[in-house]
Symmetry: D2
Subunit: 380 residues, 4 copies
């Protein structure tokens, strides 16, 4: 751990600056939105992962960026090395967006989910049980099958829950519909989630092409979509779940949202104010306020977030026990996320410990032996 | 002004509670997103205002709410009385959403804009110059005409700028396209805005019906759209303006965004991080970061916002000189907005003065004689 | 519990203001710095409580204030009624300042401590076990006896710890010395505290008269002393404990400080910076930073504090698990403290629960059956 | 200016960490509590500066520290170099503590003040008018003479105001009294301050030896005094000024306090609450609340402060227009203060500009040509 100790040496003050500040490394961090690729992808005739990865589907990322991502998606030693450099002790991996949700054929999707879960288990969890856990892929094209696969992944492979990339494609590329998670067809899946008592990570996905028009004007495909558009579409998806009464039917269900809960902390009070003008019961069978659901049924991860005031807003709406560090590797850098988090002022040490690993350990029942990590410094 | 003076009477402490806290009224507030109706509407064969007002287009608002809105849109004495009750000294009014933007016929739209501006001037500004100013309506269906009308409204009627409700309909109800403000066709308008040096208030509007599907599942038309969906669509619209290079061509242009800048403060740092992965120049001719534009070319109003942590996040990204109180009357209540603002702790008195009226006076050159209002209390 | 429910009634918004805001009452709060008097006082020939109560020793309080205090110190029904009005469920009482510390005769002090503890137990704890606990009085004039009495009070009377009012007078009124708690003579007491594993509340006391000159210029005895002078003297006393190495010898000892830890959160980082310029070991046998001790060996109560930004500063230095609601009744009003706390924005519900009662229940092992109180509102 | 530009190079993310973060240097900062020595000192037979410099009077600082201070007090090139390294463009210097206040002989004090002001002008201001200004030394032992010298220094030497180190010694070392600034004898001085319309910086000084006992237990002279004790004694001194009615007699007088206004922001609301229990008029002729005076008659500098939450608390009580960067060189390091300030998150750029130089330029009418410094980064 690197501490700027010069201040503690007898009788000296810093009298020169290198324009740098030492980051007091916070070890044992846990990250939860970390993507992996799959060798099984091409065989199923679906969109190869590299085309629809966040920010690239029809958008102009640099070749360097795309190649860097592609190389890191499946390189385990490189991933571990990056974690070690950054003080990240344990990571929950999941299949990268668009994941199973982008597979048009229902049977393919179901089969692929099973194989992907086995592959992730074999490549990450089994060989490195004290470094990796995973969120299972599930084929929501067939919710009953998804429920079954979730149960298998949790009970047989030790999955910590499921990760779902937004809406699912139902049909074929030429003729498909979109299914969101509040669709009645998904009920068997949610019943199983409640029964297994595991969380579901709701992750963004590129909106359907014909709905990208809002943020793309045809002339410049906007990378901004990857940060703003996809994020807020996921926030809207979360609101659909709340309004659908899901959390009244199953009060124990917990949903993880990345990117500081996709701006919901910033806006949720307004959503409640507007909803109050409606005819009771006319816009969904929900019974409580959106703020209530946000702080009882949701957790926020800080994937992609490197701004103190955004984190403070999130903590104030949801409570610090429901906010967790994450990165979104390899689309974000472990190093940048950690340097920012480990240094940032404005959060108490106790708060940082919770965000760094304590909350995740409690919520996901992680037993990877992180207790030996230094948390509170005698000098900080 | 009501102050809880009992604490300052010799030798007493409160020894009973009524469960209420006195609000120390802050007089002379200025509000900027305050909607009015128009008697001219029906004559133009467009969507009557009451159908597409925020939250009602196809959504299930209560009849009471709709009738209350409808009655207040055009009732000047009732509006003034509400302002007086709430310590709001001066208001900038504008034609309610969807405004001119929802008028399909270009000639109608242009003609209507002119007549609406004259009507607002005659009903609000001329009779009450120390209580009302206005933002002009402009028909972006014909940007050159819009530029001309903006100039007339500013120079002849003293308009403080323009208010535009999102995208404009180009065509007919059966066959139309949507034009956002970064469209090249809008250039003459922006050149005029820069020349006149007045702000443009970019206000939400119900997204096109076929794009409402994201937030409405067909079963329950979501009122949440009015708070979340419409808002974030407006934030996306602002990002389009930034990415289009508008503020590089015209560094002086200022855009007002309501609802605490539509969550941009929460997300803007992430947008910058994602944009950095792109091929330089491939996603727009912009030259600076989104954060830079947000704090140099935008102002945030607090219409609909009643949450301290949201305000703090906004102030931290944009600076307190660029944040201003507003209500969104009659869709929100002057009284609720004022009770919340006047009481809220966590903002210095100096900050509150700026948000309440000082920033607006400076930016909009308001000379309504508000200086006599009490700002700093000797006891608070 | 009073919630402003009108916002949730179908289709209405507030359209009038009474200049008041409803306080959403937070039930089951616990308060820890609540003073009681004693009928035993006069018999021991010491300073009567009413002369040296905070703010009155040589200072000009109003007669009304002094009489109100005097009446409330011993009136149990009036105290309970005030608690009920304010949503305070459980209170830890203690003998009012200057307490035993102001008794000059060592034998008297020791004897008085024992009798006061029995009296408090008989009048508060025994008849109302689900409303009152207490911190024991101890005579630090004889630390070995104090240790013995603390043990008796904890084991036989269920005392939750001790409350000590600053320095102790050793000697006689005409000829005395002052003993602070880092004096070597106090070691037996601290060993016992560590053994019993109970906290010690370090409470302010009027500084010795000849040290009041800093804040009193002879012309105007400053009431400001009661807020600023006494408080910062207590903060200094806490720093003495840290520097003396007490928490290195006994890492488990926990000290409670009122008034948001007496400004230590605001200044502690500076104290560490200044200490780093010294010759290691020359100013005390302490081994860690003052910040470390503050967050590992101290708890802050919010007695007398009604300011969000002060609370935020305190939480950031110490963590929200180490901050607790309190009042300082009867010198402060339960009603004012509760109205402020229950309403204040800027703290998450989860944080408020911890400050209100969760932290105290955990730290003091309170089993008063508060679980039935409503904590999280479905509408807030 | 060092910006971490790698994020903006096409298509890359950081994939390694050095454990350091680049500080984006903020140029043109102004610092106001910067001490210089004087060659005249020894000749006047007073306490040599090096003995009573903060933290050394009877306290065990390291020899290295003391020598480093001594060398820097009078070395102008070294001081300028440090400023250049740290992005500090302009500094207001003043004679180091205990300054003139520590000179026992009234005639000596008065004479020394004049000579010190001429010396500072000749060594700092005259040769480097775009780098240095100064606060005049004044001999409060003779307030009428102090008023005269202040006027001379302001009008003839361009002094920006006066800096006074706490109380003054009146008499001889063997037999002296202490005079605080609210003493009636000081009235002629305050009248002149109001007339000249310049601020007075109220700086800490080691409390009189016999009042150090609070923080020194005789065994370990506490360096903590230099941070906590001296600071809070200065806060108490400021409260005396408020309570004395000085700001009612002269509403325009402005006092600068270092160290984030010596914890007054943290405690001032409590001081007001306690004062309200008194007999009106019995504790001073003041007419307003302490909070009112703090935000109308005081400015806070951040000398010695490197903690975001302390700064936020200060800004919330006083407003960001009344808070200014400072260092306390050479007792603190320009480099540490600047690295912290330039990097810290949680303050908007606009706020940082004000703290860094805008407020000081306005309040002290500084015309040193700092406008060319880059303030807002296009990338930050």
């Amino acid at each position: 751990m690197e501490i700027d100790r010069s201040l503690y040496i007898e009788g000296t003050l810093h009298r020169a600056t290198s324009g740098n500040l030492s980051v007091p490394r916070f070890f044992g961090k846990i990250a939860l939105e970390e993507a992996v690729g799959s060798t099984l992808w091409d065989a199923y005739g679906t969109l190869p992962a590299t085309q629809e990865i966040a920010g690239t589907n029809g958008l102009a990322v640099s070749l360097d960026f795309a190649q860097d991502i592609a190389s890191r998606l499946n390189d385990v030693p490189k991933r571990l090395d990056s974690m070690d450099q950054s003080g990240i002790g344990y990571v929950i991996v999941s299949l990268t967006s668009p994941g199973i949700e982008g597979v048009f054929d229902k049977a393919n999707a179901t089969d692929l989910a099973t194989k992907v879960n086995d592959e992730i288990y074999a490549n990450y969890v089994q060989p490195y049980p004290d470094r990796f856990g995973f969120f299972a892929a599930v084929a929501m094209q067939d919710p009953a099958a998804a429920a079954k696969e979730l149960e298998r992944a949790v009970k047989d492979l030790g999955a910590k829950g499921a990760l779902i990339n937004g809406y699912s494609n139902i049909g074929s590329p030429a003729n498909y519909t979109i299914q969101y998670l509040d669709d009645e067809a998904c009920e068997p899946f949610w019943a199983k989630v409640a029964e297994l008592n595991v969380p579901v990570y709701l992750h963004p996905r590129t909106p359907p092409v014909d709905q990208q028009v809002i943020y793309g004007n045809g002339k410049y495909p906007l990378l901004a979509q990857a940060a703003y558009g996809f994020g807020v579409e996921t926030g809207g998806h979360a609101l659909r779940l709340m309004v659908s009464g899901l959390f009244d039917r199953y009060p124990s269900i917990q949903i993880f949202l990345g990117h500081a809960a996709e701006a919901l902390p910033f806006l949720v009070h307004r959503t409640d104010n507007r909803l109050s003008t409606g005819k009771s019961g006319s816009d969904g069978p929900y019974k409580k306020s959106m703020k209530y659901y946000l702080r009882n049924n949701f957790y926020a991860t800080l994937s992609g977030i490197r701004r103190l005031s955004t984190v403070l807003n999130t903590i104030e709406e949801m409570g610090e026990d429901r906010v967790m560090f994450s990165v979104d590797y390899p689309y974000e850098s472990d190093e940048d996320a950690s340097d920012w988090f480990d240094y940032v002022e404005g959060l108490s040490s106790a708060t940082k410990e919770k965000l760094a690993w304590k909350n995740a350990v409690r919520v996901l029942n992680i037993t990877a032996g992180l207790e030996s990590y230094q948390t509170d410094s005698e000098f900080l």
